[in-house]
Symmetry: C2
Subunit: 256 residues, 2 copies
Protein backbone atom coordinates (compact mmCIF):
# COMPACT_ATOMS: atom_id res chain seq x y z
CA UNK A 1 0.00 0.00 0.00
CA UNK A 2 0.99 3.62 -0.32
CA UNK A 3 0.95 5.89 2.72
CA UNK A 4 0.79 9.66 2.32
CA UNK A 5 2.48 11.96 4.82
CA UNK A 6 2.34 15.74 4.80
CA UNK A 7 3.85 18.56 6.77
CA UNK A 8 4.31 22.30 6.38
CA UNK A 9 7.95 21.67 5.52
CA UNK A 10 10.72 19.28 6.49
CA UNK A 11 9.82 18.66 10.16
CA UNK A 12 7.44 15.84 9.28
CA UNK A 13 10.39 13.87 7.94
CA UNK A 14 11.06 12.84 11.57
CA UNK A 15 7.64 11.11 11.46
CA UNK A 16 8.28 9.65 8.00
CA UNK A 17 11.55 8.22 9.30
CA UNK A 18 9.78 6.43 12.17
CA UNK A 19 7.21 5.03 9.72
CA UNK A 20 9.84 3.74 7.28
CA UNK A 21 11.74 2.10 10.12
CA UNK A 22 8.63 0.16 11.19
CA UNK A 23 7.18 -0.46 7.71
CA UNK A 24 10.05 -0.99 5.28
CA UNK A 25 7.81 -2.84 2.77
CA UNK A 26 5.40 0.02 2.14
CA UNK A 27 5.36 2.83 -0.46
CA UNK A 28 5.43 6.40 0.79
CA UNK A 29 4.58 9.78 -0.71
CA UNK A 30 5.64 12.78 1.39
CA UNK A 31 4.55 16.33 0.72
CA UNK A 32 6.36 19.26 2.38
CA UNK A 33 4.67 22.61 1.77
CA UNK A 34 7.94 24.55 1.74
CA UNK A 35 6.43 27.32 -0.41
CA UNK A 36 4.18 28.28 2.53
CA UNK A 37 6.14 27.06 5.55
CA UNK A 38 5.77 27.68 8.49
CA UNK A 39 2.14 26.94 9.44
CA UNK A 40 2.80 27.50 13.13
CA UNK A 41 2.24 31.26 13.17
CA UNK A 42 -0.77 31.22 10.86
CA UNK A 43 -4.50 31.27 11.66
CA UNK A 44 -6.78 28.22 11.89
CA UNK A 45 -8.64 29.15 8.71
CA UNK A 46 -5.47 29.37 6.64
CA UNK A 47 -3.99 26.16 8.08
CA UNK A 48 -7.22 24.27 7.28
CA UNK A 49 -7.22 25.49 3.67
CA UNK A 50 -3.56 24.55 3.19
CA UNK A 51 -4.13 21.10 4.77
CA UNK A 52 -7.03 20.28 2.46
CA UNK A 53 -4.91 21.25 -0.55
CA UNK A 54 -2.03 19.03 0.62
CA UNK A 55 -4.37 16.08 1.21
CA UNK A 56 -5.92 16.51 -2.25
CA UNK A 57 -2.52 16.42 -3.87
CA UNK A 58 -1.55 13.21 -2.08
CA UNK A 59 -4.88 11.56 -2.94
CA UNK A 60 -3.96 12.24 -6.57
CA UNK A 61 -0.80 10.23 -5.91
CA UNK A 62 -2.94 7.23 -5.00
CA UNK A 63 -2.42 7.05 -1.24
CA UNK A 64 -4.64 4.76 0.85
CA UNK A 65 -3.84 6.15 4.29
CA UNK A 66 -2.92 9.71 5.33
CA UNK A 67 -0.64 10.78 8.16
CA UNK A 68 -0.73 14.46 9.10
CA UNK A 69 2.85 14.79 10.29
CA UNK A 70 2.46 18.36 11.48
CA UNK A 71 1.14 19.27 14.90
CA UNK A 72 -0.28 22.59 13.73
CA UNK A 73 -2.24 20.94 10.91
CA UNK A 74 -3.26 18.09 13.25
CA UNK A 75 -4.54 20.61 15.82
CA UNK A 76 -6.60 22.68 13.41
CA UNK A 77 -7.46 20.48 10.44
CA UNK A 78 -7.68 16.81 11.50
CA UNK A 79 -11.45 16.72 11.93
CA UNK A 80 -12.07 18.54 8.67
CA UNK A 81 -9.74 16.12 6.88
CA UNK A 82 -11.49 13.09 8.39
CA UNK A 83 -14.84 14.43 7.21
CA UNK A 84 -13.66 15.17 3.68
CA UNK A 85 -11.56 12.07 3.00
CA UNK A 86 -12.73 8.51 2.50
CA UNK A 87 -9.38 6.96 3.58
CA UNK A 88 -8.09 6.60 7.17
CA UNK A 89 -6.49 9.81 8.49
CA UNK A 90 -4.13 10.00 11.48
CA UNK A 91 -2.59 12.96 13.25
CA UNK A 92 0.33 13.22 15.65
CA UNK A 93 -1.54 14.68 18.62
CA UNK A 94 -3.44 11.72 20.06
CA UNK A 95 -0.58 9.21 19.93
CA UNK A 96 1.57 11.77 21.77
CA UNK A 97 -1.14 12.28 24.36
CA UNK A 98 -1.58 8.55 24.98
CA UNK A 99 2.15 8.03 25.34
CA UNK A 100 2.46 10.93 27.78
CA UNK A 101 -0.37 9.53 29.89
CA UNK A 102 1.39 6.16 30.05
CA UNK A 103 4.68 7.88 30.94
CA UNK A 104 3.73 10.39 33.62
CA UNK A 105 4.22 9.37 37.26
CA UNK A 106 3.05 12.48 39.08
CA UNK A 107 0.50 13.73 36.53
CA UNK A 108 2.33 16.97 35.70
CA UNK A 109 2.79 17.20 31.94
CA UNK A 110 4.37 19.99 29.89
CA UNK A 111 3.53 20.61 26.24
CA UNK A 112 5.66 22.66 23.87
CA UNK A 113 4.76 23.56 20.29
CA UNK A 114 4.20 26.37 17.83
CA UNK A 115 2.04 29.33 18.73
CA UNK A 116 -0.81 27.82 16.67
CA UNK A 117 -0.65 24.40 18.33
CA UNK A 118 -0.53 25.89 21.81
CA UNK A 119 -3.37 28.33 21.23
CA UNK A 120 -5.53 25.60 19.73
CA UNK A 121 -5.41 24.05 23.23
CA UNK A 122 -5.90 20.57 21.79
CA UNK A 123 -3.19 18.85 23.86
CA UNK A 124 -4.36 20.56 27.02
CA UNK A 125 -7.98 19.50 26.47
CA UNK A 126 -7.20 15.86 25.72
CA UNK A 127 -4.74 15.55 28.61
CA UNK A 128 -6.90 17.32 31.19
CA UNK A 129 -9.81 15.05 30.29
CA UNK A 130 -7.62 12.34 31.85
CA UNK A 131 -7.13 14.25 35.07
CA UNK A 132 -3.53 15.38 34.73
CA UNK A 133 -2.18 18.89 35.13
CA UNK A 134 -0.94 20.55 31.93
CA UNK A 135 1.55 23.39 31.43
CA UNK A 136 1.90 24.73 27.88
CA UNK A 137 4.54 26.92 26.26
CA UNK A 138 4.82 28.13 22.67
CA UNK A 139 8.40 28.13 21.36
CA UNK A 140 8.28 30.01 18.02
CA UNK A 141 12.08 30.13 17.60
CA UNK A 142 12.63 26.36 17.73
CA UNK A 143 11.54 25.73 14.11
CA UNK A 144 13.78 28.41 12.55
CA UNK A 145 16.62 27.21 14.77
CA UNK A 146 16.28 23.65 13.46
CA UNK A 147 15.87 24.83 9.87
CA UNK A 148 19.10 26.81 10.31
CA UNK A 149 20.79 23.61 11.51
CA UNK A 150 21.61 25.07 14.95
CA UNK A 151 21.01 21.98 17.09
CA UNK A 152 23.59 22.55 19.81
CA UNK A 153 25.92 25.21 21.23
CA UNK A 154 25.32 28.53 22.95
CA UNK A 155 22.41 29.82 20.91
CA UNK A 156 20.45 26.56 21.08
CA UNK A 157 21.05 26.41 24.84
CA UNK A 158 20.04 30.04 25.41
CA UNK A 159 16.86 29.67 23.37
CA UNK A 160 15.93 26.43 25.15
CA UNK A 161 16.49 28.12 28.52
CA UNK A 162 14.44 31.14 27.39
CA UNK A 163 11.36 29.06 26.62
CA UNK A 164 11.63 26.13 29.04
CA UNK A 165 12.66 27.77 32.36
CA UNK A 166 9.02 28.36 33.17
CA UNK A 167 8.12 24.68 32.62
CA UNK A 168 11.11 23.53 34.64
CA UNK A 169 9.93 25.67 37.55
CA UNK A 170 6.53 24.01 37.31
CA UNK A 171 8.11 20.72 38.29
CA UNK A 172 6.71 18.69 35.39
CA UNK A 173 7.71 15.03 35.04
CA UNK A 174 6.85 14.56 31.34
CA UNK A 175 7.34 16.89 28.37
CA UNK A 176 5.55 16.41 25.03
CA UNK A 177 7.45 17.64 21.98
CA UNK A 178 4.36 18.99 20.23
CA UNK A 179 6.07 19.85 16.95
CA UNK A 180 7.76 17.49 14.53
CA UNK A 181 10.85 19.72 14.30
CA UNK A 182 11.56 19.52 18.00
CA UNK A 183 13.02 15.98 18.19
CA UNK A 184 16.12 17.44 16.52
CA UNK A 185 16.62 19.67 19.57
CA UNK A 186 15.93 16.78 21.95
CA UNK A 187 19.50 16.46 23.33
CA UNK A 188 19.63 20.15 24.32
CA UNK A 189 16.09 20.01 25.71
CA UNK A 190 16.85 16.89 27.77
CA UNK A 191 20.08 18.36 29.08
CA UNK A 192 18.26 21.49 30.24
CA UNK A 193 15.24 19.72 31.74
CA UNK A 194 17.32 17.11 33.57
CA UNK A 195 16.82 13.42 34.23
CA UNK A 196 13.63 13.78 36.21
CA UNK A 197 11.70 14.76 33.09
CA UNK A 198 10.75 12.18 30.40
CA UNK A 199 10.58 13.61 26.91
CA UNK A 200 7.81 12.28 24.64
CA UNK A 201 8.03 12.37 20.85
CA UNK A 202 4.82 11.21 19.19
CA UNK A 203 6.38 9.83 15.98
CA UNK A 204 7.10 6.36 17.34
CA UNK A 205 3.70 6.06 19.07
CA UNK A 206 1.95 7.08 15.90
CA UNK A 207 3.90 4.58 13.83
CA UNK A 208 2.93 1.76 16.22
CA UNK A 209 -0.71 2.80 16.42
CA UNK A 210 -1.44 2.65 12.70
CA UNK A 211 -0.13 -0.92 12.52
CA UNK A 212 -3.51 -2.58 12.00
CA UNK A 213 -4.19 -0.43 8.92
CA UNK A 214 -0.87 -1.06 7.21
CA UNK A 215 -0.41 -3.71 4.50
CA UNK A 216 2.92 -4.60 2.98
CA UNK A 217 3.08 -3.76 -0.70
CA UNK A 218 6.26 -5.73 -1.31
CA UNK A 219 7.83 -2.57 -2.70
CA UNK A 220 9.33 0.39 -0.88
CA UNK A 221 9.31 3.49 -3.05
CA UNK A 222 9.72 6.88 -1.40
CA UNK A 223 8.73 10.02 -3.29
CA UNK A 224 9.37 13.33 -1.56
CA UNK A 225 7.36 16.23 -2.98
CA UNK A 226 8.05 19.84 -2.01
CA UNK A 227 6.10 22.90 -3.11
CA UNK A 228 9.34 24.88 -3.26
CA UNK A 229 12.90 23.79 -3.70
CA UNK A 230 14.12 26.28 -1.14
CA UNK A 231 17.83 26.93 -0.58
CA UNK A 232 19.21 24.49 1.97
CA UNK A 233 16.41 21.95 1.38
CA UNK A 234 18.64 19.08 0.31
CA UNK A 235 20.94 19.50 3.30
CA UNK A 236 17.99 19.55 5.71
CA UNK A 237 16.52 16.37 4.21
CA UNK A 238 19.83 14.61 4.68
CA UNK A 239 20.18 15.97 8.21
CA UNK A 240 16.81 14.50 9.18
CA UNK A 241 16.50 11.30 7.14
CA UNK A 242 20.17 10.37 7.26
CA UNK A 243 22.30 9.34 4.32
CA UNK A 244 21.06 5.77 4.10
CA UNK A 245 17.50 6.52 2.92
CA UNK A 246 16.87 6.38 -0.85
CA UNK A 247 14.31 8.78 -2.24
CA UNK A 248 13.21 10.65 -5.31
CA UNK A 249 12.96 14.42 -4.81
CA UNK A 250 10.28 16.22 -6.83
CA UNK A 251 9.24 19.84 -6.92
CA UNK A 252 5.57 20.49 -7.59
CA UNK A 253 4.80 22.38 -10.72
CA UNK A 254 1.14 22.60 -9.79
CA UNK A 255 0.02 25.70 -7.98
CA UNK A 256 -0.69 24.83 -4.39
CA UNK B 1 -2.29 59.98 -4.74
CA UNK B 2 -2.28 56.48 -3.36
CA UNK B 3 0.99 54.61 -2.86
CA UNK B 4 1.03 50.83 -2.58
CA UNK B 5 3.59 49.06 -0.42
CA UNK B 6 4.00 45.33 -0.10
CA UNK B 7 6.15 42.96 1.89
CA UNK B 8 6.13 39.28 2.77
CA UNK B 9 4.89 40.19 6.24
CA UNK B 10 5.31 42.99 8.77
CA UNK B 11 8.95 43.96 8.08
CA UNK B 12 7.98 46.36 5.29
CA UNK B 13 6.17 48.46 7.87
CA UNK B 14 9.59 49.99 8.69
CA UNK B 15 9.60 51.30 5.09
CA UNK B 16 5.96 52.39 5.28
CA UNK B 17 6.77 54.33 8.42
CA UNK B 18 9.58 56.24 6.69
CA UNK B 19 7.24 57.03 3.78
CA UNK B 20 4.44 58.30 6.02
CA UNK B 21 6.88 60.48 7.93
CA UNK B 22 8.00 62.16 4.70
CA UNK B 23 4.62 62.21 2.92
CA UNK B 24 1.90 62.74 5.51
CA UNK B 25 -0.56 63.99 2.86
CA UNK B 26 -0.66 60.84 0.79
CA UNK B 27 -2.92 57.75 0.88
CA UNK B 28 -1.28 54.39 1.48
CA UNK B 29 -2.31 50.76 0.96
CA UNK B 30 0.01 48.20 2.54
CA UNK B 31 -0.15 44.48 1.84
CA UNK B 32 1.64 42.02 4.12
CA UNK B 33 1.57 38.45 2.81
CA UNK B 34 1.46 36.90 6.28
CA UNK B 35 -0.23 33.72 4.94
CA UNK B 36 3.00 32.87 3.09
CA UNK B 37 5.67 34.66 5.13
CA UNK B 38 8.68 34.39 5.05
CA UNK B 39 9.86 34.83 1.45
CA UNK B 40 13.53 34.81 2.46
CA UNK B 41 14.03 31.03 2.38
CA UNK B 42 12.02 30.45 -0.80
CA UNK B 43 13.17 30.08 -4.40
CA UNK B 44 13.28 32.86 -7.03
CA UNK B 45 10.40 31.34 -9.00
CA UNK B 46 8.10 31.22 -5.99
CA UNK B 47 9.01 34.73 -4.81
CA UNK B 48 8.30 36.14 -8.31
CA UNK B 49 4.88 34.48 -8.43
CA UNK B 50 3.95 35.77 -4.98
CA UNK B 51 5.18 39.29 -5.84
CA UNK B 52 3.06 39.50 -9.00
CA UNK B 53 0.01 38.41 -7.01
CA UNK B 54 0.65 41.06 -4.34
CA UNK B 55 1.11 43.78 -6.98
CA UNK B 56 -2.12 42.76 -8.74
CA UNK B 57 -4.04 43.03 -5.51
CA UNK B 58 -2.72 46.53 -4.79
CA UNK B 59 -3.45 47.67 -8.36
CA UNK B 60 -7.04 46.66 -7.66
CA UNK B 61 -6.92 49.08 -4.72
CA UNK B 62 -6.14 51.92 -7.14
CA UNK B 63 -2.48 52.61 -6.35
CA UNK B 64 -0.47 54.89 -8.67
CA UNK B 65 3.01 53.99 -7.42
CA UNK B 66 4.35 50.73 -6.00
CA UNK B 67 7.06 50.29 -3.39
CA UNK B 68 8.41 46.77 -2.96
CA UNK B 69 9.30 46.99 0.74
CA UNK B 70 10.91 43.57 0.86
CA UNK B 71 14.51 42.94 -0.07
CA UNK B 72 13.86 39.37 -1.15
CA UNK B 73 11.07 40.43 -3.51
CA UNK B 74 13.15 43.40 -4.69
CA UNK B 75 16.09 41.07 -5.43
CA UNK B 76 14.14 38.54 -7.41
CA UNK B 77 11.03 40.23 -8.76
CA UNK B 78 11.69 43.95 -9.34
CA UNK B 79 12.45 43.66 -13.06
CA UNK B 80 9.48 41.40 -13.71
CA UNK B 81 7.22 43.83 -11.82
CA UNK B 82 8.55 46.81 -13.83
CA UNK B 83 7.84 44.95 -17.07
CA UNK B 84 4.32 43.92 -16.08
CA UNK B 85 3.11 47.14 -14.44
CA UNK B 86 2.33 50.46 -16.07
CA UNK B 87 2.91 52.49 -12.87
CA UNK B 88 6.30 53.43 -11.36
CA UNK B 89 7.82 50.62 -9.27
CA UNK B 90 10.58 51.06 -6.70
CA UNK B 91 12.52 48.54 -4.66
CA UNK B 92 14.64 48.91 -1.56
CA UNK B 93 17.93 47.62 -2.98
CA UNK B 94 19.18 50.49 -5.14
CA UNK B 95 18.50 53.27 -2.62
CA UNK B 96 20.43 51.23 -0.04
CA UNK B 97 23.30 50.72 -2.45
CA UNK B 98 23.53 54.43 -3.30
CA UNK B 99 23.48 55.41 0.34
CA UNK B 100 26.18 52.88 1.21
CA UNK B 101 28.39 54.18 -1.61
CA UNK B 102 28.00 57.72 -0.26
CA UNK B 103 28.77 56.51 3.27
CA UNK B 104 31.80 54.26 2.85
CA UNK B 105 35.23 55.75 3.49
CA UNK B 106 37.47 52.78 2.86
CA UNK B 107 35.34 50.95 0.30
CA UNK B 108 34.70 47.85 2.45
CA UNK B 109 30.97 47.23 2.64
CA UNK B 110 29.11 44.42 4.40
CA UNK B 111 25.64 43.26 3.35
CA UNK B 112 23.32 41.20 5.52
CA UNK B 113 19.97 39.78 4.46
CA UNK B 114 17.90 36.65 4.07
CA UNK B 115 19.33 33.60 2.36
CA UNK B 116 17.38 34.49 -0.80
CA UNK B 117 18.63 38.09 -0.94
CA UNK B 118 22.23 37.06 -0.36
CA UNK B 119 22.20 34.26 -2.92
CA UNK B 120 20.60 36.53 -5.51
CA UNK B 121 23.88 38.51 -5.31
CA UNK B 122 22.10 41.71 -6.34
CA UNK B 123 23.71 43.95 -3.71
CA UNK B 124 27.14 42.52 -4.42
CA UNK B 125 26.81 43.09 -8.17
CA UNK B 126 25.59 46.68 -7.88
CA UNK B 127 28.19 47.60 -5.28
CA UNK B 128 31.14 45.92 -6.99
CA UNK B 129 30.27 47.74 -10.23
CA UNK B 130 31.29 50.83 -8.27
CA UNK B 131 34.66 49.43 -7.30
CA UNK B 132 34.10 48.66 -3.62
CA UNK B 133 34.78 45.37 -1.83
CA UNK B 134 31.68 43.50 -0.64
CA UNK B 135 31.27 40.93 2.13
CA UNK B 136 27.90 39.20 2.39
CA UNK B 137 26.27 37.16 5.13
CA UNK B 138 22.84 35.56 5.27
CA UNK B 139 21.21 35.82 8.72
CA UNK B 140 18.13 33.55 8.58
CA UNK B 141 17.38 33.81 12.31
CA UNK B 142 17.04 37.61 12.40
CA UNK B 143 13.49 37.65 10.96
CA UNK B 144 12.03 35.07 13.39
CA UNK B 145 13.84 36.86 16.23
CA UNK B 146 12.18 40.17 15.35
CA UNK B 147 8.80 38.52 14.82
CA UNK B 148 9.17 36.99 18.29
CA UNK B 149 9.85 40.49 19.65
CA UNK B 150 13.32 39.56 20.92
CA UNK B 151 15.14 42.79 20.09
CA UNK B 152 17.66 42.84 22.94
CA UNK B 153 19.16 40.68 25.68
CA UNK B 154 21.29 37.56 25.63
CA UNK B 155 19.67 35.69 22.75
CA UNK B 156 19.65 38.70 20.43
CA UNK B 157 23.31 39.39 21.30
CA UNK B 158 24.37 35.76 20.79
CA UNK B 159 22.60 35.51 17.42
CA UNK B 160 24.08 38.82 16.24
CA UNK B 161 27.54 37.64 17.28
CA UNK B 162 26.96 34.27 15.52
CA UNK B 163 26.25 35.88 12.17
CA UNK B 164 28.28 39.09 12.26
CA UNK B 165 31.63 38.00 13.75
CA UNK B 166 32.86 37.10 10.27
CA UNK B 167 32.00 40.55 8.88
CA UNK B 168 33.58 42.28 11.84
CA UNK B 169 36.81 40.39 11.19
CA UNK B 170 36.69 41.61 7.59
CA UNK B 171 37.16 45.16 8.85
CA UNK B 172 34.20 46.65 6.97
CA UNK B 173 33.34 50.31 7.48
CA UNK B 174 29.72 50.21 6.27
CA UNK B 175 26.99 47.63 6.82
CA UNK B 176 23.80 47.49 4.73
CA UNK B 177 20.74 46.12 6.52
CA UNK B 178 19.43 44.22 3.50
CA UNK B 179 16.13 43.17 5.04
CA UNK B 180 13.32 45.40 6.24
CA UNK B 181 13.07 43.53 9.54
CA UNK B 182 16.64 44.25 10.51
CA UNK B 183 16.29 47.94 11.53
CA UNK B 184 14.52 46.65 14.64
CA UNK B 185 17.75 44.88 15.66
CA UNK B 186 19.85 47.94 14.80
CA UNK B 187 20.84 48.83 18.39
CA UNK B 188 22.23 45.33 19.07
CA UNK B 189 23.91 45.22 15.65
CA UNK B 190 25.52 48.65 16.17
CA UNK B 191 26.69 47.73 19.65
CA UNK B 192 28.36 44.57 18.34
CA UNK B 193 29.94 46.13 15.24
CA UNK B 194 31.24 49.17 17.13
CA UNK B 195 31.54 52.83 16.22
CA UNK B 196 33.84 52.36 13.26
CA UNK B 197 31.02 50.81 11.21
CA UNK B 198 28.18 52.90 9.75
CA UNK B 199 24.88 51.04 9.50
CA UNK B 200 22.75 51.76 6.41
CA UNK B 201 18.98 51.24 6.36
CA UNK B 202 17.50 51.81 2.91
CA UNK B 203 14.04 52.95 4.03
CA UNK B 204 14.93 56.64 4.43
CA UNK B 205 16.92 56.75 1.17
CA UNK B 206 14.06 55.16 -0.69
CA UNK B 207 11.56 57.60 0.79
CA UNK B 208 13.69 60.56 -0.34
CA UNK B 209 14.34 59.16 -3.80
CA UNK B 210 10.72 58.75 -4.83
CA UNK B 211 10.01 62.41 -3.97
CA UNK B 212 9.63 63.60 -7.57
CA UNK B 213 6.89 61.03 -8.21
CA UNK B 214 4.81 61.81 -5.16
CA UNK B 215 1.79 64.14 -5.24
CA UNK B 216 -0.14 65.21 -2.17
CA UNK B 217 -3.67 63.95 -2.20
CA UNK B 218 -4.84 66.17 0.64
CA UNK B 219 -5.96 63.07 2.48
CA UNK B 220 -3.99 60.54 4.47
CA UNK B 221 -5.76 57.22 4.68
CA UNK B 222 -3.80 54.12 5.61
CA UNK B 223 -5.21 50.69 4.88
CA UNK B 224 -3.19 47.71 6.07
CA UNK B 225 -4.08 44.44 4.33
CA UNK B 226 -2.80 41.09 5.52
CA UNK B 227 -3.36 37.72 3.88
CA UNK B 228 -3.58 36.11 7.30
CA UNK B 229 -4.49 37.54 10.69
CA UNK B 230 -1.78 35.51 12.38
CA UNK B 231 -1.49 35.38 16.18
CA UNK B 232 0.63 38.26 17.45
CA UNK B 233 0.02 40.37 14.32
CA UNK B 234 -1.55 43.32 16.09
CA UNK B 235 1.24 43.53 18.65
CA UNK B 236 3.89 43.44 15.92
CA UNK B 237 2.20 46.22 13.95
CA UNK B 238 2.15 48.40 17.05
CA UNK B 239 5.77 47.53 17.84
CA UNK B 240 6.88 48.72 14.41
CA UNK B 241 4.52 51.59 13.55
CA UNK B 242 4.19 52.92 17.08
CA UNK B 243 0.97 53.80 18.82
CA UNK B 244 0.47 57.17 17.14
CA UNK B 245 -0.28 55.89 13.62
CA UNK B 246 -3.96 55.51 12.68
CA UNK B 247 -4.84 52.68 10.34
CA UNK B 248 -7.57 50.33 9.23
CA UNK B 249 -6.64 46.65 9.49
CA UNK B 250 -8.17 44.33 6.90
CA UNK B 251 -7.77 40.62 6.31
CA UNK B 252 -8.01 39.49 2.69
CA UNK B 253 -10.84 37.14 1.93
CA UNK B 254 -9.53 36.64 -1.60
CA UNK B 255 -7.26 33.68 -2.17
CA UNK B 256 -3.74 34.93 -2.63
Amino acid sequence: MKIGVFDSGVGGLTVLKALIRLYPQVDFAYLGDTARVPYGDKSAQTVIRYSLECADFLLGEGIELLVVACNTASSYALNVLKEHLSIPVFGVIEPGVRRALRTTQRGRIGVIGTRATVSSGVYKRLLEANGVEVFQKACPLFVPLVEEGILQGNIAKEVVRYYLSELKDRNIDTLILGCTHYPLLRPVIEEFMGRSVSVVDSAESLALEIGSYVENSGSSTLNLFFTDRSPGLDALIELILGKSVDYKLLTLSCKL
